[in-house]
Amino acid sequence: METYTLEIILIAVVAAAACALPGVFLVLRRSAMLADAISHTVLLGIVLGFFLTGDLSSPFLVLGAAAVGVLTALLTALLERTQLVKNDAAVGLIFPALFSVAIILISRYAGDVHLDTDVVLLGELAFAPFDRFAPFGVDLGPRGLYVMGGILLINLAFIGLFYKELKLSTFDVGLAAVLGFAPAVVHYMLMSLVSITLVGAFDIVGSVLVVALMVAPAASAYLLVNRLPAMLALSTGLGALSALTGYLLAFLLDASIAGSIATMAGLIFLVSLLFAPEQGVVAQLRRRARQRWEFAALMLNAHLLNHEGSREAEQENRASHLTDHLRWSPEFASQVITYAQRSGLIAVEGDHLRLTPAGRQRTLKHYPSSGTLEGT
């Protein structure tokens, strides 16, 4: 593999991992849409930072972006507090307002500078290796790798240090406040982190697709595991996997790398949604189907139990009788009998159905009134 290819993959993997970490807390706080908003409004911070410094690679651009990111979260919260608009509408009102100011500023005053709206929206990973980090003329690799690597380390350090505070204020904001953990401060620290991450990553995958890297891996991990440390680890891993497989997909289709990575992140979520072990759609369908059969077998058992030992038992407790009295179709009746027999609940002797001791016990547990009747 060429160094060029390797560098692209490395940048993408590191960027995806860096996005996936704060994404976990956004998803758990039900603020995923805030990532979308901030990914756009940070542009205003970059533009203002550029006007102040006149330098597109100044670190003040990142600071400006972080400040506007926090401002976005703050304004959204303020608008929501008026109780005149709901949260989703508040996000939808604040972010175009700030974003459009940025667009106007760029088109009016920075038309000749490389603040290209296309690149901002879509990013261009393929060009990332051309931008080198070369202090004193020594080439140390692509600049993007250092930027995203640095952001990944910042995210790891922040979550490592404030893990307890982040967890508590996400789960129970009231207790966090009572215990003196200033949940508002924690919230805006997280929002600064989200903003910095988005600024770093949107250079590479663009401001639209970066949201996929922040939300999709976390949402997938949420379905697959049920402990926070596992969710953080898996989210990071799935982000990296999306980047890796996304690059391959782009190579195969000769298509946009950023688009392919976001597609893979979406596909991984789709697979999680369908096949998650407990909450997945397939697992739910199977559970429902099993419950249906179990309940049908229980109905059959209750019927057998009711007539057991009585004079009409010979008549009632026959396979052929189920279609007449329980109004079951012959196919369904024979399927239920097979299911109940295989589960060891009933014994079939010719046409006659008899409860096994296990079947009787199970039925009495779910159908206690017949048990008490027998007991008295």
Partner: protein, 264 residues
């Protein structure tokens, strides 16, 4: 009552949302070592009173003192049990982990919980009969079990004062008994337990003292002094007193509708 042992002293507390008072000039004293119910009709400001006491809602006027000092200096003395519905039980964590959050206040910023916190949390789970569920994902607990986990978390706070917001809401009869016994045990250890409560009927049986609230403070003191026809009429309107205090179970049908029928 010994004035020196006031667990909580509230003076002239007014809370307003946009000029609409939710609590109006409330003076209250909670003597140490009592089990007190805060009761009143819907919208009376019961939860608001609790949250203001905890510093979660800023007062428009008035102040709250905890053992004679502002709450800010006394955080470790106050244990909090929020309404069960106030958190997301799908959060990816275990029962034990939730209980350990009760120790976070003692740890302070940045310090991580360790074996000592784990042991204390386990002990707290034990005292609410939930030790077998320590590793269980919290969404897989029943409502009553979730409530017990919240109580265990408050126990782990090892506080002097416990403020509980409707701990009996939506729990089964067994859990209701367990919660009541735990509250009495705390009281007998000299702790102060203050409970927002919805069920007037059980107040005389469960509690030592009561605060009757309806935006204003109607009455506070020992339950038998507070639960008079006049006071109940002042809090709940004529509907109640025409039936008389003896017919309390029929009160306030709309607010009882969501509660489980007790003792069945």
């Amino acid at each position: 009552m010994n004035q020196a042992n006031l667990a909580i002293e509230i003076t002239d507390l007014t809370i307003a949302y946009k000029e609409k008072p939710v609590l109006w000039d409330v003076d209250l004293e909670f003597p140490e070592g009592n089990l007190t119910a805060i009761v009143g009709p819907n919208g009376a400001g019961k939860t608001t009173l609790l949250k203001a006491t905890l510093g979660l809602i800023p007062p428009s006027a008035g102040q709250v003192l905890v053992f004679g000092k502002p709450l800010r200096q006394q955080r470790r003395l106050v244990g909090y049990v929020p309404q069960r519905g106030s958190v997301d039980w799908d959060f990816p964590t275990s029962a034990l982990d939730v209980v350990m959050m009760g120790r976070y206040g003692h740890l302070g910023w940045l310090r991580r919980p360790g074996k000592a916190e784990r042991d204390l949390a386990m002990q707290a789970l034990h005292s609410v009969g939930m030790q077998d569920f320590a590793g269980r994902q919290i969404s897989q607990l029943s409502g009553g079990q979730q409530q017990r986990v919240f109580l265990a978390r408050a126990l782990a706070q090892d506080a002097a004062i416990y403020l509980m917001d409707e701990p009996f809401q939506g729990v089964d009869a067994v859990t209701e008994r367990a919660i009541l016994e735990m509250m009495r045990r705390l009281r007998d250890e000299g702790k102060t337990v203050i409970v927002v409560h919805h069920d007037l009927q059980s107040v005389p049986e469960y509690f030592d003292r009561a605060v009757l609230l309806n935006v204003r403070k109607i009455a506070s003191g020992p339950v038998h002094e507070v639960f008079t026809d006049d006071n109940l009429r002042a809090a709940y309107g004529d509907r109640v007193t025409r039936l008389g205090a003896a017919a309390l179970p029929q009160l306030e049908p709309e607010s009882r509708a969501g509660l489980p029928v007790m003792g069945k």
